[in-house]
Symmetry: C2
Subunit: 440 residues, 2 copies
Amino acid sequence: MPISPGFFAGRDLTGLARDLRDGRVTATALTERALAAAEALGPELNAFVTVDAAGALKAARQADEELAAGTDRGPLHGLPVAVKDLIMVAGLPATMGSRHFARYVPDTDAACVTRLRAAGAVIVGKTTTHEFAYGPTGDRSANGPSRNPVDPARMSGGSSGGSAAAVAAGIVPLAIGTDTGGSVRIPAALCGIAGFKPAYGAIPADGVFPLSASYDHVGVLAGGAEDCLIAYRCLGGEVSGDGSPAVGWVDPAGLFDGDARVTAAVRALLGDAAEVRLPEGFAGEVWETYTVVQSCETAAVHAGRLERAPELFDAEVLERLRAASEVPGWRYVRALESRRRLAGMVETLFGRHDVLAMPTVPITAPLIDQREVELDGRSVAVRPALLALTSPWNVLGLPALTVPAGTVAGLPVGLQLVCRPGDEARLFTAAARLAPAALG
Amino acid sequence: MPISPGFFAGRDLTGLARDLRDGRVTATALTERALAAAEALGPELNAFVTVDAAGALKAARQADEELAAGTDRGPLHGLPVAVKDLIMVAGLPATMGSRHFARYVPDTDAACVTRLRAAGAVIVGKTTTHEFAYGPTGDRSANGPSRNPVDPARMSGGSSGGSAAAVAAGIVPLAIGTDTGGSVRIPAALCGIAGFKPAYGAIPADGVFPLSASYDHVGVLAGGAEDCLIAYRCLGGEVSGDGSPAVGWVDPAGLFDGDARVTAAVRALLGDAAEVRLPEGFAGEVWETYTVVQSCETAAVHAGRLERAPELFDAEVLERLRAASEVPGWRYVRALESRRRLAGMVETLFGRHDVLAMPTVPITAPLIDQREVELDGRSVAVRPALLALTSPWNVLGLPALTVPAGTVAGLPVGLQLVCRPGDEARLFTAAARLAPAALG
């Protein structure tokens, strides 16, 4: 049963910014709305690890004073934002979703947080992450699973599960997450909101706890694509140019044999888009490359903790880390070679299209802790299903956006749009054309 | 008992080039000298896998005709050169020292061979390599061990063992090798000649069978440093500038506890050079970085052969490859991080010195197949001893030269000089100042 949404549900950044400047609302009032919703929905959704009421109200008052004095920091000025608990905010605990960091409080902001503050955003708190971001389900964290606002018995998806739940529940209009194999886009799709993972390196990852340095991306989650674009620009993303995007359809079956209803719901939005064929061998090579590089890099991050205090990890995370520690180095070397080869396939992949379209996730949100789902009498493993359509674009470092694309049996489905770096303007134009139909 | 040296022993490239241009000798006659020596010393040293008499004589006649017609290709014009069997020469077998490539004949030249030909050099044949260059001893090859001309019961060192033996025995005045952890410098030092490994990437490795792509360098072996410089320039190396080099002494005990007599012999050449202290933790980190990266990259190169036809490898090489295949990927990831950190230590390492000096190898040549040596009642493993003082400069990608530094108990010892990329002129100046004393 869905929760009663907070104030920000259905409100976009542009409207809020206008209301602020027109004097219909204050940053302080908006922050109080966010704090009230966080408190009201806290137990039900577990979206937040830390809510910083004092810090947020102080920042909001400052934002109000600045606006009154004629200082306008732009579209995020005075608006509440939530930050994933893997991203450092000076003075606030950063647990990384792990008992290993139960008492850790960083004293400097991550680069993306510095940019948020410079843009006048009000940081209301830290959102639940899958432990060390190592899982797309969002249900293994030292502070418990984040829950899906559409049905709290279901997973939010992850690893930026709390960020997605907080936006989808209307607690905040914007949240920041990280995306290594889909950790922004997967929970955004499962919770029915938008999420954008920029090109590799477009937003600096300094001050973000690493999962897999080759693939880690900072990303944004909001109600719609337009708000993702606004936030991306405020974080330093460059988007220029325009033109009419040629959108090609990628049959997700070429990557993963998922839920046919999800495919049909997303395909229906594409009209007469031509089908793009994936290059021969692409699916297998990209998955091997993703899993091997991620496993070795994640195991390298945690080798010390695995040796000193394995008991502090969640049991499932521990089991996966141990398996990751055993992946031999020669496979990593080969995977790096594959990554370079795959990067060379990008032009072939796009051909005469500017934007590739496909479902974001080939299934709808499973139940919390569910690890297998039934599809047409087949049993399908949840984790590879969640990652299958998002992780290729981390391997290739391409910008990728998910926007709401309706529902299947009452559960949200996402349309994923992918472009080449530099083509972000076309990506967002495509989203604006395709998504309203889905929301209508 | 030493062999009777061939014609080129004690002759340098400059003198040979002068004789050619003065009409005192022809390229054809020089090539015949090389072919005769290769034949005479073949059984004793096993320096060559393939001698290409027909091809060499044809190239020599062409060189003579060109000179007669006024076309002068420079200092290597008409001079015989030997090429390691891991480096492709079009139309000649390239066994890589392995039964896996018993019948392989490449149809294009390696980039460095193209440059040799353009410089007018006469390629007389392919020299014995340790199987796939995977060993510093030079005594495990499908065509048998290469032997040390100073005492054929002893190893040449490797992996460019045949190239070192061919030069040291006076069969050719110049040979080309590869150096991944010391494979040019180790056999040069053990056989009593000079060898130069340039900066990483200074000579392209295209057409060289890989051992460990992060560390593979093409290098040159000759009687003295001046000839290495001439050959390096002909291969495209840029050496400019001059100035009086400040040489610092690195006590090899900071890297490996070797033969005190070797240290003393080399130290004696340095006069009052100041001692350079290695940064804290340098020795351990550089060795871990070297072994882990090399193991994983080598195992990646050979994974297919290891699975399909392990029985074709030499038993010791097979055992080492199997161990390399089990090094976990997370250690490779950490080693790449260490490599970047170590690269950042270069300025600290050099401080106010331009050139670092130390022994090339901390022991003298062991017997063929010997894997442990006695030093002051201690048992020392041969392989890590051979690599200990050369491999750090592969990890850091620095130019490194070995020059003859006298003998200990009748066996050659090498002085190794290391500089920063761009400082090669100072490196060779230092060699010219220090080495004659050793040879005198």
